[in-house]
């Protein structure tokens, strides 16, 4: 069954409080039981307490799938980029290195790439993915567009990301300021920026 069209994933890293609930819950998912697919990163630990949960953004044209020599990564019709097919994955790590968001994980002992599949056993029947069901600050939110617009009056959802000359469109949305809503989030340009200060966490209250 496909993921219902009216349900979408919205991420808001600025709301992350680093509790790791998502990390623990993720490993409860039946499609990758025992393996947490979430990355919880400290953005720049020496300078800020900011953390960020990273899930698969489910690209429309997934680079991970395109660079896979074994043709092991498939995107289902509902736009979910599935984890590598077990019979095909040859554990080359191309996907791990090519994903612009740094999402896939290589399980070397299993000779298998595994990645977030939006908890397909749950999302395909209209349930929230495990991470979104436990995130206390709603940095990870799964629901309708109307719900998120109601909850975040100052935010808007964007699903286009820029990496140098490459624009990537994704199924998962990121919340950005509504007033200055950009056409896309320029991720590569952020390399030129100073790391975040503590003020970013105030967004939990203000957005």
């Amino acid at each position: 069954m496909p993921v219902p069209e009216h349900l979408e994933f919205f991420i808001d890293p600025s709301r992350c409080i680093g509790c790791e609930s998502c990390v623990q819950a993720c490993s409860e998912c039946d499609t990758h039981r025992g393996h947490s697919m979430i990355h919880l990163e400290y953005v720049e630990r020496s300078r800020t307490t900011q953390t960020t949960p990273v899930i698969c953004m489910h690209c429309d044209s997934p680079t991970c799938a395109e660079v896979c020599p074994a043709d092991a990564i498939k995107r289902t019709e509902d736009g979910v980029v599935q984890s590598a097919r077990k019979p095909r994955c040859i554990a080359c790590s191309n996907c791990v290195l090519a994903c612009p968001f740094g999402v896939p994980k290589m399980k070397s002992d299993l000779e298998l790439m595994m990645k977030c599949d939006m908890c397909y056993d749950r999302s395909s029947v209209g349930k929230k993915p495990m991470c979104a069901s436990v995130c206390p600050s709603q940095a990870l939110f799964f629901g309708t567009r109307e719900e998120i617009e109601q909850l975040r009056k100052r935010s808007a959802a964007v699903n286009r990301f820029r990496f140098g000359n490459q624009t990537v469109t994704t199924k998962v949305n990121m919340m950005v300021p509504r007033d200055t809503r950009p056409e896309y989030v320029d991720v590569a340009a952020a390399m030129e920026e100073d790391s975040l200060g503590g003020d970013i966490m105030l967004n939990v209250l203000s957005t």
């Binding site: 499609t31 720049e44 790590s93 612009p100 056993d121 950009p182």
Partner: protein, 370 residues
Amino acid sequence: MGGSELSRPVVKSGLWAAVITGLLAVLIVLGSRNLAHLDAALIGYLFASLFATFGLTYRYAMWLQRPPTAMYWRRGWHVFFRSGHLWRNTAEWFRRISRGFALNLFIWKRGRSRWAAHWLIMWGCILASAITFPLVFGWIHFETLPDNLEWYRAYVFGLPTFAFPVDSILGFITFHGLVWAAFLVIGGVMIAMRRRMREHGAAAVQEFGEDILPLLLLFAISVTGLMLTASYTWMKGYAFDFLAILHAITVIFTLLYLPFGKFFHIFQRPAQLGVAFYKDVGAAGAQAACRRCGEPFASRMQVEDLITVERQLGYQYELPNSAIEHYQWICPRCRRSMLAVAQGTLWESARAEESRASALTNAMDPAGFE
């Protein structure tokens, strides 16, 4: 891509498929001594095998022409045959064949029932293929000895080999080879089906054509094959003709399905060996350091190969006017962090804009009058 560019790989693959199928046909003619030892009852299997060969070669050739596959194919052979490493690589190849392919140890680590299912099905299919195809192609046949009808002699490519009494343990084992294969396959299929029916996660992502149909086909082949044996052994050939046709249908359908479905992984999977050698060489060679954090994160060779492959695929991760040059030079960890940095930057800009607007308002209306 234009139509003419698309057709080039298709033509190339078609030619390869025709050549390999033709080669097999020649080998069949030679091995069966001008078709003299072909079993007429197996002609359907023969043509299905030729079709499967064409389909498999075509798909394999198409697959090899994908930029990432082509890159690894070239690299895999190149690193294997590097001068001065051939003996070590050959020994390593045997070790990896034993552990990965004969024992399926990597599947063992993924799950015991998954391993048991795969191992049983794999060895059942290998045994069945090793018996069936030479018989279908006329490469092996049996004849009674002229002076003793109680003895059989096996002929390989028309050349006489060992002989054995029909009523012997060796004879029993030899002539029931497909029965043993069927037992292995049925055991594996049962374990696999149980897992697919009981595991919530497997049920969520499985597809009928990709995951269930192959199991049903293997089960059907094995059961109808066993029914043939049961018919001639214990039931005086009851319904044998019908069962023979039924069995042929299941086998031929599976042969025709080979190039299109899950079974194609049998032919893709050996690429794992080339990748392992490629990774060995990459780990021993120069490493790529992240151009943001400075940490090594992958083999430089693989990063450079990926940049080439991405360009061939039409991706444009180049970073103009930046010393980083290409996004591939950023490690996965930094990529994850930068998503948050990018979002934070947008909010900081928005707040700065708000502050400016607020300051402007205050400047124009310092007393706060409306």
